[in-house]
């Protein structure tokens, strides 16, 4: 309940201190962000793997991991993600709060020291990362890219976004591209990493029972002299022509997805109403999609919708028998039509508001969730805190929901279905 957020603009970065007694750990998260580009996306995807293979003083991945084990299983995570058209490289440390460990002292200092080494004393050879490591990690990333083909839900959504946002940076795959790997040299990669360290927009979050830990002074050493960059903008687009894409794969269950443009992002006045709209339409087990596609017609095990907060999109997901494509599609589109007509009860509206608030509050009960919600605000360059967002959701009206429903436009219908279904059509 009592989380105190302090945002302190520092020299070259923004420091966010989130003091809370909810957790037994302390979380340190550095988020570097810049515009999503094809040129850099593969390098950014590769970096997390390379960085975790060792430092000058801990020259193998095993030594690096063993150091973390000694620090009571401190978690190090380095990963990339996209939100809107921002590419985010996150370096994250989760440390046990030493007050729960008998006899342990200065764990936070040791963690900060470790992180500093990871970022500023990587294992180098000449002017680049260790070439053996880079080669090995290219193979790791490559197998990760290949493995995407096996997660059919993610595959379908990725393919849909590629088609839907063909001419927008948002179509880029955050895992990078196999064909771009070979051109990346250890020197290029190191050079680009230096660029990230000095030129990306940087936010640092420290979360936990930190009030008495003098964090502000301690974390300064994690940042080298740099200029804080401005946050780049995401472009929004309207639908010019609806399209339907059908693709085939060796699968027994078909994936039927829909891509909508809401053109409503975190900063917009309609954003709270969009949350409630999504809740009524497909966000919960009480939503229209679940009730009609699954419960009433037994067509799917899952049928749901999810909103993207910074690019203004909404995705619908369902897993159906290949032969049920038309029927499932009709039912899903009918639910959207119902939303546009305002065919939902006041009770349903109020319940959905409660559930949306519940969901946001629960997110604030997890350390990662708390950081992510605050970071959404940062990327939107908004002053609206998660708590204020909750408050605004509370006041969403039926009219606002209907208005949002009528603003949401279908862009792409995407079906990933079985090869047998193709044979049947022929």
């Amino acid at each position: 309940m009592d989380t105190l957020e302090k945002v302190i603009p520092k020299n070259g970065f923004d420091l966010h201190l989130l003091h809370t007694k909810k957790f037994k750990t302390i979380h340190l998260s550095m988020k570097f962000t810049t515009k999503l580009t094809r040129e850099n996306v593969t390098k950014r995807a590769l970096l997390p793997y390379v960085l975790q293979q060792g430092t000058a003083n801990l020259p193998t991945a095993t030594k690096l991991r063993q150091r973390l084990d000694e620090l009571y299983g401190t978690v190090l995570a380095v990963d990339t993600s996209k939100k809107g058209e921002h590419h985010i490289l996150t370096v994250r440390l989760e440390l046990a709060n030493e007050q729960y460990i008998a006899g342990e002292q200065n764990l936070l200092d040791k963690g900060i020291h470790f992180l500093k080494e990871l970022l500023y004393q990587p294992k180098l050879e000449g002017q680049g990362f260790d070439p053996k490591i880079v080669e090995r990690e290219k193979a790791t990333l490559q197998s990760k890219i290949e493995a995407l083909k096996e997660d059919k839900m993610t595959l379908a959504n990725t393919r849909m976004i590629e088609e839907m946002c063909k001419d927008e940076a948002y179509h880029l795959r955050v895992t990078g591209y196999e064909e771009d790997l070979s051109a990346i040299s250890p020197e290029d990669l190191y050079q680009y990493f230096q660029e990230i360290l000095t030129e990306d927009h940087l936010d640092m979050f420290v979360l936990g029972d930190i009030e008495e830990l003098a964090v502000e002074g301690k974390v300064e050493e994690l940042v080298i002299p740099r200029q804080q960059a401005a946050i780049t903008n995401t472009t929004l687009n309207t639908v010019e022509e609806q399209q339907t894409i059908v693709e085939y794969d060796d699968i027994s269950q078909a994936k039927l997805h829909f891509g909508y443009r809401t053109n409503i992002t975190y900063n917009d006045a309609e954003y709270p109403a969009l949350h409630v709209f999504n809740g009524l339409f497909g966000g919960f087990p009480s939503s229209k999609l679940f009730l009609n596609v699954r419960e009433k017609n037994s067509l799917a095990y899952y049928a749901a919708s999810r909103i993207e907060s910074h690019k203004g999109l909404m995705f619908v997901f369902s897993g159906i028998a290949p032969g049920q494509y038309q029927r499932a599609k009709d039912i899903i589109l009918e639910q959207m039509e119902d939303m546009r007509q305002g065919n939902f009860t006041d009770d349903a509206l109020h319940e959905t508001i409660e559930m949306t608030i519940n969901q946001l509050r629960e997110t604030l009960d997890s350390p990662q969730g708390m950081i992510e919600l605050h970071y959404q605000r940062v990327l939107a360059q908004s002053t609206l805190s998660p708590e204020q967002l909750l408050e605004n959701v509370q006041h969403v009206t039926r009219e606002q929901v209907i208005e949002v429903a009528n603003q949401v436009q279908l862009d792409t219908t995407y079906l990933l279905t079985s090869k047998e279904a193709k044979a049947d059509e022929a």
Partner: protein, 431 residues
């Protein structure tokens, strides 16, 4: 009501066993906005042969019935219980494992109302032929979804290779064919046998007052009638010590093949401390070999045969236990044989006292971190409670483990007869 304070982790648990046998645990955590409650029965996919309540002969029910029952308990004559939770701003869910079925919700308001909904819906079944038929379509799609997931197929393929007869090898959701046989009468039979309060645990964690919650539950239970508590007779086939298949291959379209090595545990300790010690010692050994800081992991990584998907897991439960090690690889045969070699070559020489202390530290830190999550606390506590183990107390047993314990354990842990291999490969014609 009993109160126990666990000093090191600074948690309090209030508990009581009610007259009808239900075990109730409350862990107040006022800093959290939410409350999480989970109502668990000691009944899972492996319990398919048993003597039904009030009968004397063993009956065997169709595969996947515990999971089917889980789905159907949400549906009542006049409504779907999901909607009751929705109305009160809560989100509800359920899951079925090998040995348990659990129903849960989380909410940040109307906790008493939601808790009452949880208890009442689980204790008031309504099954009809029509609703049972309707569910078959939904569960068929759930099974199909898993069929397309190579990781799941590899996991179950490994279990199947380990066991000749033990029902742990049965897919938790059953098969598209087996679920067709399920009738409403089967569901009632299973329900009445396994959902007796004395076979269940209720755990509530979060922003609650223990006295108030306990009073509410007691009053709710006092208003209901149950048969007197009795022991459930479950039957399990005699399981040989050896593995069923030294090697199996699952053919399905994959971009990268997979290799998993299974380890079949032969002895499952009944005494709580011994059980936990075995679980932790196994964890420590797997960690020493196969975690990101593991010695075998390093060797395997250097061969280029593994990637980030490589992992190990350890399942020790009521009357079975197994470990699974492996992941994606270009050369499944080779990786499998290297993993087996690592397991068989392991001796006290390669697991030093220093290694041991470091891994123990890591485990303690991991536990602390996991305790940020109310879900983790409630799920784990309930899981171990059904094995008659106090999860929080058991952390002390971890701290008390010595290097001598691990070396002694290593001596008799595994032989080659306990190992099997499951590979997932694309069809040759795919090329």
């Amino acid at each position: 009501m009993k109160h126990k304070h666990y000093q090191q982790i600074e948690e309090h648990i209030y508990s009581e066993t009610l007259d009808n046998g239900l075990r109730v645990y409350v862990l107040p955590k006022q800093e959290m906005a939410k409350t999480y409650a989970i109502f668990t029965t000691n009944y899972g996919s492996i319990d398919q042969s048993f003597v039904p309540l009030g009968k004397s002969e063993t009956e065997t029910v169709p595969d996947g019935i515990a999971h089917f029952l889980e789905h159907k308990l949400f549906e009542k004559e006049d409504r779907d219980v999901f909607q009751d939770f929705s109305k009160a701003g809560a989100s509800a869910n359920a899951f079925t494992s090998f040995t348990k079925t659990a129903y849960l919700f989380s909410a940040t308001s109307k906790i008493n109302e939601n808790l009452t909904t949880l208890i009442d819906f689980v204790q008031d079944p309504y099954f009809s032929e029509a609703s049972v038929e309707k569910e078959k379509g939904i569960i068929t799609q759930e099974i199909k979804m898993y069929d397309d997931q190579p990781d799941w197929r590899a996991f179950f393929g490994t279990i199947k290779s380990l066991y000749h007869h033990h029902p742990v090898q049965i897919d938790i959701a059953g098969t598209v064919e087996s679920i067709q046989e399920i009738t409403k009468d089967d569901l009632y039979t299973c329900y009445h046998t396994f959902y007796h309060p004395s076979n269940m645990v209720l755990f509530i964690a979060g922003n609650v007052d223990a006295d108030e919650i306990m009073a509410l539950i007691k009053e709710n239970q006092a208003g209901k009638e149950f048969a007197p508590p009795s022991d459930i007779e479950r039957n399990f086939p005699e399981e040989p010590q050896t593995v069923a298949d030294k090697e199996v291959t699952v053919k399905m379209p994959v971009s990268v093949p997979k290799a998993l090595v299974g380890i079949k545990e032969l002895e499952i300790p009944e005494e709580p401390e011994q059980f936990m010690r075995k679980e932790w010692l196994t964890d420590i050994i797997l960690d020493h070999l196969f975690s990101r800081s593991g010695v075998a992991y390093e060797r395997l990584y250097e061969t280029g045969l593994i990637d980030q998907s490589f992992s190990s897991e350890n399942h020790l439960d009521r009357n079975f236990g197994f470990c699974i090690v492996g992941g994606n690889t270009k050369e499944p045969e080779k990786l499998a044989s290297l993993i087996k070699q690592e397991l068989l070559d392991l001796s006290a020489d390669s697991l030093t006292a220093e290694h041991f202390e470091r891994i123990k530290r890591k485990k303690i830190g991991q536990l602390l971190r996991a305790m940020n999550s109310l879900e983790f606390i409630a799920n784990q506590y309930s899981h171990y409670q059904l094995l008659n183990i106090d999860f929080f107390d058991s952390i002390t047993w971890l701290e008390e483990l010595t290097y001598d314990d691990v070396t002694a354990f290593l001596d008799s842990w595994i032989t080659e007869d306990q190992l099997s291999v499951c590979m997932v490969k694309g069809e040759e014609t795919e090329r």
